[in-house]
């Protein structure tokens, strides 16, 4: 079957901002949160209803290889950046970009000063039970913990497949089983979210419309 390029993907639905009435096209079927580009209101989407959950601050413009709404290609696969979350780690910050992949799949591209990791949510069995027991440098089954830290969410833009709260701090750990492989485990309030993917070379990211 011929794959349909993501940049030809259609709008799933259009809603109007409950605050200012601005029409908001929604590109991802399971989008939960969207920021109105006109009035910066955060809008929560649940089934067919939309709920205003407040006004979010505008993220300071920073140079990036990605732009919301401008499709990219990574190793012959196309992705459409739809939103981003910015996390702070004190003296700096990094961004998690929500990408819509082919066949309407959810991907996340983490960009942290030259370190790019492309992952997607996947429930895989992990060789540990409690996130809190993880130690950097220790091996758990075939994985080695390469980083464990916490981050504070400082803002978002565009549309996201999950609800986030500004100012919320969550813990995360990076696990590797060699090479470019990467498993990220996010931990918050006793729950773990698992993302599986790999480190990618930023020079391999190509814009569709350069």
């Amino acid at each position: 079957m011929k794959r349909e390029a993501i940049y030809k993907s259609h709008i799933e639905k259009t809603i109007n901002c409950p605050q200012c009435g601005y029409p908001l096209p929604i590109y991802f079927k399971w989008t939960k949160l969207v920021q109105c580009p006109a009035c910066k209101s955060s809008i929560f989407l649940e089934d067919e209803s939309v709920k205003l959950i407040g006004k979010s601050s505008t993220l300071s413009p920073e140079p990036s290889l990605l732009t919301i709404g401008e499709p990219i290609i990574i190793e012959n696969k196309s992705f459409l950046p739809l939103g981003k979350i910015r996390y702070s780690y004190g003296r700096g910050f990094w961004e998690e970009w929500f990408l819509k992949g082919e066949s309407n799949r959810e991907f996340w591209l983490s960009i942290d000063e030259g370190d790019f990791a492309l992952e997607r949510p996947l429930n895989i069995p992990l060789p540990f039970k409690d996130f809190r027991e993880l130690q950097v440098g220790r091996e758990y089954g075939k994985y080695i913990v390469t980083e464990k830290n916490s981050a504070e969410c400082v803002g978002f833009e565009g549309e996201l497949p999950r609800e986030i709260k500004i100012g919320e701090v969550y813990e995360y750990a990076h696990l590797s089983k060699g090479g470019a492989s990467l498993v990220t485990v996010e931990y918050q309030n006793g729950n773990m979210r698992i993302f599986v993917g790999e480190w990618i070379d930023p020079f391999k990211i190509k814009r569709v419309y350069s």
């Binding site: 920073e62 140079p63 990036s64 290889l65 780690y89 004190g90 003296r91 700096g92 910050f93 990094w94 961004e95 942290d112 000063e113 030259g114 370190d115 060699g178 090479g179 470019a180 790999e198 480190w199 990618i200 070379d201 930023p202 020079f203």
Partner: protein
């Protein structure tokens, strides 16, 4: 990602501009050489004493484009080899808000660009023999057959870790060709892989606006120039090989065009006339007998215009100028002789050496003959070379391997086959 900001050196109050992003951990003051911890209230960690600042064309703060990306030089480290105090080179830490961190390496007029890659499986490397690595469809071979240790000699500006004078790093340098290499670096707590590419020094100087008086460019040696030519474009010799391939292919196709110009049997002395129709090919004289004794009973002479061109019997062989090494063996019952004859009419003289013998020999002469047993291996080697060159980004190694195999073939077909098998086994093992 972070913003540009300035601090004052807590030791000498010199203004220090920080431009290197949020990963930067230390800044070393260029005036008093204090190393300041940016994660711990600008605490002075230590000071480099008795510092001699090396003379190099690049300075912290310079900006330029490499690989289409705008980079700023934010830090500088001078390394030396542990075993050789005079072998020093500079590595400048580059920062791009889009692409993060990379290195500009400078050594005696040679400039390279190096950046970290994460998609080489180090666990496989650690378990292997470390002689070579295969990355992005390219083979890299360990230089000098062993690793070496580098020592930090001097630090200035921003760095993403705390570097101290005397810190040691073990390095494995793997080279694909004269421009591209991979270095695996092992420090006390990290194992990292860097992809390095040699750059055109003039272009880098121009991009980073280095003053012409400061520019130092190393003149490449003849071998480096040849390598560069081989790698950057398909060299004239490559097209020469293609031409040879086409010639051999045409020759093989044409080899079916040989023609029998004489076929006779002799049971006594006798003569026969034959005409060679082309001087571009070989003429084959095939002699057959029922027994080796029968063959040894006869001699053959080829003459043209009364002049002896060729003579052979069981003991000696002459051409028109000199005696050749040896004739057929005593146990042979046939022989094939290849002569390069000009176009024209020739006389074949068959003489029975033993008048009492009742034996018989058969003589067949063909012209327009091509010896495929010489051409076919050459053809196969060149075919393999061209196929490999087609699927490979770089042909230089293949080129030299092919030349090596050709030389081996000319020395000994056995050595050639042996080296082909060894090469194949090595290649298979290495690719694993």
């Amino acid at each position: 990602m972070s913003r540009v900001y300035s601090i004052k050196c807590p030791n000498c109050a010199a203004p220090l501009k920080l431009i290197g992003g949020g990963r930067v951990e230390t800044v070393t003051c260029e005036y008093c050489h204090s190393v300041i911890d940016l994660n711990d209230n600008y605490k002075i960690l230590y000071r480099f004493r008795n510092v001699k600042v090396p003379k190099v064309p690049f300075k912290i703060g310079m900006q330029g484009k490499i690989e289409g990306v705008e980079w700023t030089i934010i830090g500088w480290i001078v390394y030396r080899e542990e075993e050789d105090r005079d072998s020093k080179w500079s590595e400048f830490l580059l920062f791009s808000p889009l692409y993060g961190y990379a290195w500009l390496i400078y050594e005696d007029g040679v400039i390279s660009f190096s950046r970290r890659v994460r998609d080489l499986d180090l666990r496989v490397w650690q378990k292997g023999n470390k002689r070579s690595i295969f990355y992005n469809e390219t083979h890299y071979f360990l230089e000098d057959g062993e690793s070496y240790r580098t020592v930090i000699d001097f630090v200035q500006g921003e760095l993403t870790w705390i570097a101290k004078r005397g810190d040691k790093i073990e390095c494995w340098d793997y080279r694909a060709d004269s421009k591209n290499s991979i270095t695996i670096e092992q420090s006390y707590d990290e194992l990292e892989v860097y992809l390095t590419k040699r750059l055109n020094a003039r272009e880098v100087y121009s991009s980073f606006s280095v003053d012409e008086k400061e520019q130092i460019i190393k003149k490449p040696t003849a071998i480096e120039r040849l390598n560069e030519e081989l790698e950057t474009k398909k060299p004239p010799s490559f097209y020469g090989i293609v031409a040879i391939f086409i010639f051999l292919l045409a020759t093989i196709i044409y080899s079916g065009a040989n023609r029998i110009i004489l076929s006779e049997s002799f049971n006594n002395s006798g003569t026969a006339i034959f005409r060679v129709t082309s001087s571009a090919f070989l003429t084959e004289i095939e002699i057959k007998a029922d027994s080796h004794k029968a063959l040894n009973d006869y001699s053959l002479t080829v003459e043209r215009g009364g002049k002896k061109i060729f003579y052979i019997d069981s003991g000696k062989v002459y051409d028109s100028k000199k005696r050749l090494n040896s004739s057929w063996s005593n146990s042979a019952i046939g022989a094939k002789i290849y002569l390069k004859l000009d176009r024209g009419q020739y006389l074949l003289k068959v003489r029975k050496l033993d008048p009492l013998s009742t034996s018989r020999i058969y003589v067949k002469i063909e012209d327009r003959v091509i010896r495929l047993d010489y051409i076919a291996p050459l053809f196969v080697i060149i075919l393999i070379f061209l196929i490999m060159a087609f699927f490979s980004k770089r042909v230089s190694h293949l080129f030299f391997i092919a030349i090596g195999l050709l030389i081996l073939w000319s020395v000994s077909p056995f050595l050639f086959l042996l080296s082909l098998v060894i090469f194949w086994l090595y290649y298979k093992e290495d690719k694993k």
